[in-house]
């Protein structure tokens, strides 16, 4: 029996639902889930081989399928770890694109700072490295010396472009910047190297285009709650459903050699 710990933010719900539907396929694997929604994820820390949640408010919000108390969680019992979402997402690139454009970008806005491709690339890389997923993953890999898999947050669906907040992206996509923005994210995924860490890209069959997930995968996405009884609002463009989770899980278990 192998033990794997799946850690994540709200995107962990997708994986949990998929696992519940398919767990009989993995009889030789014990899967533990531990998740925290939203900013509470920042309270997660790893110290002396244990997982800590550093504030009381976040501790109350922990989702886990493990018997209580779960914190601090001794990580030595696990053989492998997988981290879902936790800020490792293309939104970081999109956020940067709001104020910074490189020479590669076609949508040039007078209010944006113009930077070189090299500068944009290095900033993208640094910004993604600042994500909770990467920071926590590196702590896990360093302290536990066991395999860690990073599963980025799914690309958003294209309905994202309808939101006022992303009007700059909408104009950028119209101007032809989608591939370039997606590439900034993919470049990180392909060049990131850290001992014992493997970054698993989003399953290509879930993509509509280079930086958008097919709308069908966002239908019926569920919030990370104990009961899994609340769906995300209809205009949610970031969270995906169990069908998406199943593809990620299949990929993860294959890479991790779990059965």
């Amino acid at each position: 029996m192998k033990n794997i710990l799946l850690l994540g933010d709200s995107h962990l719900a997708t994986i949990k639902l998929a696992y519940d539907a398919a767990h009989t396929n993995y009889p030789e694997t014990s899967v533990s889930f531990l998740g925290l929604r939203g900013k509470h994820i920042n309270a997660l820390n790893i110290h002396n081989g244990k997982l800590w949640v550093q504030n009381a408010a976040a501790r109350k919000m922990i989702f886990s399928n493990r018997a209580s108390p779960v914190i601090p969680l001794d990580l030595a019992e696990f053989d492998q770890f997988a981290l879902f979402g936790m800020g490792l997402n293309v939104f970081r690139i999109v956020q940067m694109y709001k104020n910074y454009r490189s020479d590669e970008h076609r949508f040039q806005d007078e209010q944006a700072f113009v930077v070189s491709r090299e500068c944009f690339g290095r900033a993208s890389d640094g910004y993604l490295r600042m994500s909770k997923a990467v920071r926590l993953g590196e702590l896990l890999a360093t302290q536990l010396r066991k395999p860690v898999f990073l599963c980025p947050q799914p690309m958003p669906t294209k309905s994202l472009l309808q939101g006022e907040e992303f009007s700059h992206l909408s104009l950028g996509v119209k101007a032809g910047d989608e591939d370039s923005l997606a590439r900034s994210f993919q470049d990180f995924a392909t060049t990131y190297k850290f001992e014992n860490i493997e970054l698993l890209p989003q399953p290509p069959e879930t993509l509509h285009s280079s930086m958008f997930t097919q709308e069908v995968f966002s239908h019926g996405s569920v919030r990370l709650t104990k009961e899994f009884d609340r769906t995300h609002p209809g205009d949610d463009h970031a969270h995906m459903n169990a069908a998406y989770g199943a593809l990620v899980l299949k990929n993860l278990f294959a890479r991790a050699g779990l059965s």
């Binding site: 956020q95 104020n99 910074y100 020479d103 700072f113 090299e118 290095r122 900033a123 640094g126």
Partner: protein, 361 residues
Amino acid sequence: MTSPYSNLPSRNFWKTGVSEQHPLTITGLYRKKYEIQQQDRIATAGSCFAQHIAVNMRMHGFQVIDAEPAPPGLDPETAKLFGYGIYSARYANIYCVRQLLQLAQEAYGEFSPADLVWESKGRFYDAMRPNIEPQGLDSPDDVLRHRARHLKWVRSVLENANVFIFTFGLTEGWIHLASGTVYPTAPGTIAGNFDPAVHAFKNFTHREIYEDFLAFRKLLRHRNPTVKFLLTVSPVPLTATASAEHVLVATTYSKSVLRAVAGQLYFENSDIDYFPSYEIVTAPFTRGMFFEANLRAVNPGGVEQVMRTFFSEHKLDLPDQASTPVRLHDRAVRRRKAPMRRAKSAEEVACEDALLEAFAK
């Protein structure tokens, strides 16, 4: 018998004002001409040594403008490589006053630099700030586009500053003969090609520097009538001279001229203050203690003493002194705390001038 010296304070006499003082405890070297308020927006520019001013003023809670902030994700060291966070915009080091004047004139369409795009190994560089893109840009058009956008931020700095702090660095420069364009470094040092028929060495005189600064002041006050100025002279000697003199003689000339210009501007104008960073570091009583082993770079102790003297006069009463750089961008740019680390020495600051050492035989 009375003498005009008889009632003067001890600071007026070399024996009591200098010989009997320790460079770390001396007081009264600087008396501010005007108050810098907490709400004042401060712009900084100048030669390498000026880089310490922005960092230290932010650390002490002053509102230093950062019109071109680094993208999120660039660590402070990498950001510095790209010219971010060093001055109030990404104009890099401005060694000569003519360079400063030309930048301001260019920002308002009154001057067009010649030979603006330099090439090296198929990459293209902004000749007026060749150090800010370590790998250069893809095309000459990219350089022009970057520069046009940069000038927009330069205008915003000039128009929003309440106090403009400028550090005089050099009298020596390299110019484009036909247009008079002054470059921050000789063509061919970082990029571009030196052509003696096109480019020439120029050692600016007292009169030229004095008039250039007054022209800059006039241009700036036309757009920003209440702006005040604070001048300093960099204590860092020349890395190399292109004049016929020994580098020590050339340095003395250069610094003397700059000091004299700063002094004259200070005495003649109520809106121009002078801060003696040059004297603090180079005066005989320091016995060279504020220089690194190369007798050129100012060591951290020297920088600290300069800034301690400055803050003894300009002090804000704040609980948490470190301030966030003032953004002039009209969109919400992610705000970050200023880097809290001082450079280890003047050599650690971004300095094109130091590159000339590679040419020494």
